[in-house]
């Protein structure tokens, strides 16, 4: 029997199961196989904050979603077409998001009375009419892998655990993905226990064949390659991309990289990735807390390293005093905040864009810091590199905002040729910099940056610190006039960074009724929404801001061309407030505080509402 293959432009799949069901792994494997096929994609995990919440409970559900397509894909998709539900709890939690008419792939064996009860189902949804309107594939996955692996040496529990590979096999069939990359990966991962590798491969093939053979499936889908720019690609998470961007900046500036950090969700992977790069002379220092993380980085910056600290909101709160020190000592430092849901401990595994105020204004005194934000996982590379470059060029800390959705989400990254990445010019003064009057640590260059004189250089001995400093000489000064000069200078130095920004680019018409202004990860869904609205004949364009401080100098002229402005953001209106003050004009807001990204459809609705 040859089955029908339907060509679709894009598809969104969500894998959901118990924390122990291996959904993250399954999702990642599907993503890799899809990436290799040449689709564009975005993927995002979604897991509970417990390590292993009790099996079968709603709290214990872990999920992974990806969207892939034959044209550019900007988000991991709003609502999935296909939901893999490995147990009743997973179905309970995620059913509400499934597209009308979407497909459900369920492990029927997990729908036991006990599990149903734990998930709060009154009766078995696979057997009553709860799922009317969806296409349901109820498959006894546990049983099927049990049969397929009867001969294996594995324990029953170990065999049961391969059911995720069975599900993956079915999906591979359903979306016409190759098995080979996953087979190779399994062999490598379980090189030391070939029996486990083998069992997983068998389970996956069994799933694939099940799709191919049984009659319950009638259609599979193909998604053509996307027309991506030519080049080599790989899939990358935002946290990986930050790592690479910073390591690239270190190499391109001839610096060693020092990372002072303290683990925190969802930023920890940057620390993990970096600690694996000892052969890049990367010095990771897992500090006793976030304060020591940034303080050690400040020390390393003083001593001449490319210094970095990484964290998330609560950790950022702890760093604010030290950021002030970096500002006043005018030392280069990259501070990465992978934002999560607040306030306080809040929702550690959920995303939010609510640390913008904190980044720009969250310090005592007048303490200006450049702030930029990445828009998608691959952009984290560019932004991290840029942050490091600006920090060293202007002798200033720079804050890079990412978020849990970018940091843990992934998408294809066009791998740059390292030779094409521009060098970062660094000059450390040498002994000759000490003039008649001695060395002047707060002497300034044309960008008003002070010299980066490194301990160990004879003749440039000098002291810096957190007390206000006299300009040029760097001596402690509590003189009123000097404080005015220094305050102006610190503000101006940061403001002038805008001089090197490229002119703003509006996506769509340069003039019109509505301009949607985005920052950070809201870019993707707004992009989709603007596209759709535009196609529907609306006069709407998009402006994405990479730099939030300083604001681009052409912001006013660009926005003046539009009647209305809309800022969608996953907070209560932070950029909106800043731009209202900057532009002195009303701004429409679309705010959401649900620990998850805005959906394209939500933005579309808002656009409709504004444009009538």
């Amino acid at each position: 029997m040859t089955k029908k293959v339907t060509r679709v432009n894009e598809a969104t799949i969500r894998f959901a199961g118990d924390s122990g069901d291996g959904m993250q792994l399954t999702g990642t494997r599907f993503t890799e196989a899809t990436a290799i096929l040449g689709n564009d994609l975005k993927a995002i995990p979604n897991y509970p904050s417990e390590i292993r919440a009790p099996t079968g409970t709603l709290a214990g559900v872990s999920a992974f979603q990806l969207m892939f397509g034959s044209s550019r894909v900007f988000t991991p998709g709003d609502l999935p077409d296909t939901l893999v539900a490995m147990n009743p709890a997973a179905l309970k939690v995620h059913l509400k998001d499934l597209k009308k008419g979407g497909s459900i792939l369920a492990n029927a064996n997990a729908f036991t009375d006990k599990n149903l009860k734990m998930a709060g189902w009154e009766s078995n949804p696979l057997e009553d009419d709860t799922l009317a309107g969806y296409t349901v594939f109820s498959i006894e996955m546990s049983k099927l892998v049990g049969i397929a692996l009867e001969e294996s040496d594995l324990t029953k529990k170990e065999i049961e655990r391969t059911k995720n590979m069975f599900a993956l096999g079915v999906l591979f069939w359903m979306y016409n993905r190759p098995l080979e990359p996953t087979e190779a990966w399994l062999k490598k991962k379980f090189a030391k226990i070939p029996s486990v590798a083998e069992a997983n491969i068998i389970a996956m093939r069994t799933g694939f064949n099940y799709g191919e053979t049984t009659e319950i499936f009638t259609t599979s889908y193909s998604v053509e390659k996307a027309e991506l720019p030519k080049g080599k690609y790989r899939n990358i998470t935002g946290n990986e991309a930050v790592t690479y961007g910073l390591v690239a900046a270190a190499q391109k500036s001839g610096k060693e990289l020092f990372l002072g950090s303290y683990p925190i969700t969802p930023a920890s992977e940057i620390l993990h990735n970096m600690s694996n790069l000892r052969n890049f002379k990367v010095k990771t220092f897992q500090a006793e807390d976030e304060i020591a993380g940034i303080a050690s980085a400040i020390g390393a910056a003083y001593a001449g390293d490319l210094a970095v600290t990484t964290t998330s909101g609560p950790g950022m709160a702890l760093k604010t005093e030290s950021i002030g020190l970096a500002v006043t000592t005018e030392l280069p430092l990259v501070i990465v905040n992978v934002q999560r849901g607040g306030p306080s401990t809040g929702m550690p595994t959920k995303m939010e864009q609510a640390d913008l105020f904190q980044a720009i204004m969250g310090r005592n005194g007048e303490t200006p810091v450049p702030v930029l934000a990445a828009m998608d996982p691959a952009d984290c590379f560019e932004c991290a590199f840029e942050a490091a470059r600006v920090a060293m060029k202007y002798m200033t800390p720079v804050i890079l905002l990412s978020d849990g959705y970018l940091g843990q989400g992934s998408g294809p990254w066009k791998i740059p040729n390292p030779d094409d990445i521009p060098e970062i010019e660094i000059s450390h003064p040498d002994t000759s910099a000490a003039g008649e009057e001695g060395f002047m640590p707060y002497q300034r260059d044309e960008k008003e940056a002070r010299p980066w004189a490194i301990p160990g250089t004879p003749g440039l001995e000098h002291r810096i610190g957190g007390l206000e400093k006299e300009n040029i000489t760097g001596m402690v000064s509590q003189d009123p006039e000097n404080h005015q000069i220094m305050s102006d200078l610190r503000a101006r130095k940061v403001r002038n960074i805008a001089k090197e920004f490229d002119p703003l680019e509006v996506y769509g018409e340069k003039q019109g009724k509505l301009l949607v202004i985005t920052w950070g990860s809201s870019h993707g869904s707004a992009h989709v929404a603007v596209d759709r609205s535009h196609k529907a004949g609306k006069s709407v364009s998009q402006l994405h801001l990479r730099w939030l401080n300083p604001l681009p100098s052409d912001l006013k002229s660009v926005t003046d061309n539009f009647d209305e402005l809309l800022i969608p953001e996953v907070n209560m209106g932070q950029l909106a407030l800043l731009l209202k003050a900057e532009l002195i004009r009303p701004i429409h807001q679309l705010n959401k505080m649900k620990g998850e990204p805005l959906r394209a459809s939500e933005i579309e609705t808002k656009i409709d509402e504004i444009l009538g």
Binding site: K232, R234, Y244, V247, G260, A287, E321
Partner: protein, 342 residues
């Protein structure tokens, strides 16, 4: 001998090389002056180039120290000097990094960083100026102030039990612990030298008189006439003898230190012999600190060799580089599953 003190061509540095132009701004009579002078006197003998010294401090009167040393210096923020200094040392292991802190800076707000830098055994030298008071903020009690102490924030007497700073260091697994006295130049210089020679984190507690807010706190040992009977200067391998007439000594009695009079009953050979490397001798000395029956011990209380964090880090870098080859961006970018769009 540490990397930084490797024999370099003779440096001909003098005390003056470490004296900067700017004024010293402690109160007249402050114990900090003597510590500064002894530091400036001792450094030239350490065979470290002047530009390789970095003095890192927090906030407090004591923490102004870097401004008064003509070397590299970083007057940090309150309590964070050990963390800043760790970054300095890890960035450049060639530097001789000194942390100057106070009982408030190092043990109140900065207590955690202090115990962690000691635990990690990063090769830095720490001097904690213990005046048992917050000087810079004008006289509140500190975590080393004695119970009952009346200060601005404890007008009816402090109810806060004090730390014994050297004991905190010992509890943090410190590899070098010394105690010195602001007015005792010899002891200070010895501590400074030994701590520079020590590979790993060195902790020197300096009893320092704050003439304004806590004058006379250490009178019994500061005062030349009462010092011999109240201070015990320990020397590795030597029996513990003290007293104006060198007539007293320390023995161990039911696991506790006890003062005995040398004479018919007790001979020098009965006395406890100092051993820097023996944790329990160190602990016995530490216990004497607050005991009114025993003298206060000074000198090198503990010194043992253990791998340092900075050495381990740099040798791990070397090992991994050996194993994997020098980091190459191209390989890094292309790791994982790569595909091509043509």
């Amino acid at each position: 001998m540490s990397e930084t003190t490797k024999q370099v061509e003779t440096l001909h540095l003098t005390r003056k090389d470490f004296v900067p132009d700017n004024d010293v701004r402690w109160c007249p009579g402050c114990g900090d002056y003597s510590i500064l002078a002894n530091m400036q006197k001792t450094l030239p003998s350490l065979e470290v180039e002047k530009e390789k010294y970095v003095f890192v401090s927090g906030i407090g009167c004591s923490s102004r120290f870097p401004y008064y040393m003509d070397t590299y210096g970083f007057h940090g923020i309150h309590g964070r000097a050990p963390a800043i200094a760790s970054g300095v040392k890890l960035a450049n292991p060639d530097l001789s990094v000194w942390i100057i802190t106070g009982d408030g800076d190092g043990l109140s707000i900065g207590g955690n960083h202090l115990i962690h830098v000691l635990r990690r055994n990063i090769d830095v030298n720490i001097m904690l100026f213990n005046n048992r008071i917050y000087g810079l903020t004008k006289g509140q009690y500190s975590p080393t102030s004695m119970l009952g102490k009346k200060t601005k924030s404890s007008p009816f007497g402090s109810i806060d039990r004090p730390f014994n700073p050297s004991a905190v260091a010992a509890g943090s697994n410190a590899t070098f612990i010394a105690r010195a006295l602001d007015v005792d130049a010899r002891g200070l210089q010895e501590s400074i030298k030994r701590s520079q020679d020590h590979k790993g984190a060195s902790f020197i507690e300096v009893y320092q008189n704050c003439i304004i807010f806590n004058d006379g706190e250490f009178a019994d040992v500061e005062n030349k006439s009462t010092r011999p009977d109240n201070a015990l200067f320990v020397v590795h391998g030597e029996p513990m003898i003290f007293g104006k007439e060198n007539n007293k000594g320390i023995v161990v009695d039911n696991h506790h230190p006890k003062v005995v009079e040398l004479g018919d009953k007790w001979k020098v050979k009965d006395l406890l012999v100092h051993d820097e490397t023996n944790m329990h001798i160190t602990n016995l000395l530490l216990e004497m600190t607050f005991d009114p029956e025993t003298p206060t011990p000074f000198g090198i209380l503990r010194a043992v060799d253990q791998p340092t964090y900075d050495d381990l880090l740099h040798s791990q870098i070397d090992q991994v580089t050996e194993l994997r080859g020098e980091g190459n961006l191209k390989d890094l970018f292309n790791s994982g599953d790569v595909w091509e769009v043509k």
